[in-house]
């Protein structure tokens, strides 16, 4: 009960923030009825999906301060669990998704245990490696469709059990539900014991240890929470796109985008990943469709991301949210 109260309690935010949050919520609720085109709706769905990813990353990467660049492997685990169970045994989404989360949790514990012997850059490199290895395995594993990927069977009629709808609006509200669960969860998380301990670990590991914090265990817990979040998003991607392959759900660039969105918006803040996704998802879509039309320009979007990473880490490590906070402090 108390946890629920904490999750729904936004009273420590400023009044402006709370009003913005309410307006934002109303906007999201009515958005599909504003007569926008399907492309814009897709961008919106992507935005909420990536916010979900970013918020998950924020537990270990933001609050815990561990540069984690391997989240795509958990997107893949979530997506493949849902897709394969549906193709092989016709398991409904609502059963396969929790199983996907459990697999992601178990896998992240196994991976996290040795991984968190490493610190700093070495940890970051190791997360990239584990993700790449998993992608390579899926690329060559014929049983799961190898590099061809798998297509989900398309149902003739809309089916809630299998999350198959004709209109994007249903998916929109479904991801919006997940998005809000994530916000409430993170609102609880930042006030929880684990949240405080992680921030202490980020500040000063030696001091954290002297205060009775089992650093490695804390990091593993946060890493697993992040993985579960991301796996949910992966499961959604499977039923939404109806087709997955290692290149779309396990690519390194996906891991980097997830981390970049949270970092650009502001790591270790509740709104950061959302702000970051609001910037980068439309930019990504715009660049993707614009540069795709010009021969020889593909790849420039990644140069732009790389530049963004450098600018953010050099000038404002706390991201866009850090800039906003700075202005507010000055105004006071």
């Amino acid at each position: 009960m108390e946890k629920l109260k904490d999750a729904l309690d936004f009273s420590d935010f400023s009044k402006t923030e709370r009003i913005c949050f309410i307006i934002f919520t109303i906007f999201l609720l009515v958005f599909p009825w504003l007569g926008v085109g399907s492309f814009v709706k897709t961008v919106m769905i992507q935005f909420m999906l990536f916010s979900l990813f970013g918020m998950g990353w924020n537990t270990i990467g933001g609050y815990g301060g561990q540069v984690e660049l391997g989240k795509a492997q958990y997107v893949g685990i979530g997506a493949y669990t849902v897709a394969l169970m549906m193709v092989w045994w016709k398991v409904p989404f609502w059963i396969s998704m929790p199983i996907g989360i459990l697999i992601a949790l178990g896998y992240s514990f196994i991976i996290g245990y040795p991984l968190f012997r490493l610190k700093g850059h070495y940890f970051a490199i190791a997360t990239i490696c584990t993700s790449l290895v998993l992608k390579d395995i899926f690329d060559n594993w014929n049983l799961v469709g190898a590099a061809k990927g798998i297509e989900l069977p398309i149902h003739e009629h809309p089916d809630f059990l299998y999350m198959q709808f004709k209109s994007d609006t249903y998916y929109y509200y479904f991801i919006m539900g997940l998005f809000y669960i994530a916000i409430f969860y993170m609102n609880w998380f930042r006030k929880s014991k684990l949240g405080y301990q992680l921030r202490m670990i980020k500040d000063d590991e030696d001091a954290a240890e002297s205060l009775g914090i089992d650093i490695r265990w804390c990091k593993i817990k946060a890493y697993s929470i992040a993985s579960a979040f991301v796996a949910v998003g992966g499961g959604f991607m499977a039923v939404y796109n109806l087709y997955i392959d290692p290149a779309s759900v396990m690519e390194l660039s996906l891991s980097i985008k997830i981390a970049l969105m949270a970092m650009l918006g502001g790591a270790a803040s509740l709104w950061g990943p959302i702000i970051g996704a609001a910037f980068l998802v439309p930019l990504d879509r715009f660049l993707g469709s614009w540069l795709g039309g010009h021969k020889g320009l593909t790849g420039i979007d990644f140069m732009i991301y790389a530049m963004l990473i450098m600018i953010v880490s050099a000038y404002q490590p706390k991201g866009i949210w850090g800039i906003i906070e700075q202005f507010r402090k000055r105004g006071r």
């Binding site: 014991k193 405080y196 500040d203 030696d206 240890e209 002297s210 205060l211 089992d214 270790a268």
Partner: protein
């Protein structure tokens, strides 16, 4: 059975012997000072007890329990609190949150942790800076935050690493008063490393002297200052004459 027993601790870093066969005991309720010249192995000894280093050989017993080779978070849970000589200047957590993290080691509830943290900060006079970050504070205040943080874990033995270095006279006196009060009112056993002789002498009931990793003397403060070995190794003739 003593409160803290250190038996024949040896710590060598591949040839460099930082602690050689150091043994001593601390009784409950004592304030014990550890002194010695630079490089005598004081901090190494501290780190061996708290668990940052694993002693090469020897044993550490806390309340009769063998804690040799325990990790720092485990010794903390056993009831040993410590402060750091150099406090990392951080911008993440506020002072209150820092102390709360200490309190979280004994509770899972935020309200309880916050209440306890506030109690300790009131005791140390830190309430007015609770929303500040450590990087915004002068060094004396930073030290007190470190102390408050350690106290919030409800230790039975408090180990202080150069808690007075960098403080001026008034601040040092204040710290001495604080430690005495902690010892008397909260029945805290205190073990401190210190360079400032005045501080060690005025606060400690017993002093242990290390030199080149070896314990060369142990006794009451006024005996120690007259001990010829200690004078030769650390205090110098001048100090002996002026006292």
């Amino acid at each position: 059975m003593a409160f803290l027993e250190v038996k024949n601790i040896v710590k060598d870093f591949g040839g460099l012997v930082a602690n050689n066969n150091v043994s001593f005991e601390i009784e409950k309720g004592e304030i014990v000072g550890l002194i010695g010249p630079n490089g005598a192995g004081k901090t190494t000894l501290f780190n061996c007890i708290v668990g940052y280093y694993r002693p090469s050989s020897g044993k550490i017993l806390f309340k009769g329990k063998d804690i040799t080779g325990f990790k720092p978070f485990q010794t903390s849970r056993e009831g040993i609190g410590r402060t750091f000589q150099i406090m990392k200047v951080t911008t993440g957590l506020t002072v209150l949150e820092n102390v709360m993290v200490g309190a979280f080691s004994r509770t899972d509830k935020r309200e309880v942790a916050e209440k306890e943290a506030m109690g300790i900060m009131e005791f140390l006079g830190l309430i007015d800076i609770k929303e500040y970050h450590i990087n915004e504070l002068p060094i004396a205040r930073q030290r007190k935050v470190g102390l408050a943080r350690a106290l919030a874990t409800k230790p039975e033995l408090l180990m202080l690493d150069e808690v007075a270095s960098g403080l001026n006279h008034t601040e040092t006196d204040e710290m001495v008063g604080l430690l005495k009060m902690l010892n008397k009112e909260k029945d805290m056993t205190i073990f401190l490393i210190e360079h400032i002789m005045e501080m060690v002498m005025s606060v400690s009931k017993r002093v242990i002297v290390l030199d080149s990793g070896v314990k060369i003397a142990e006794g009451l403060p006024n005996e120690i200052v007259k001990n010829p070995d200690v004078i030769k190794a650390y205090l110098g003739e001048k100090y002996a004459k002026s006292h």
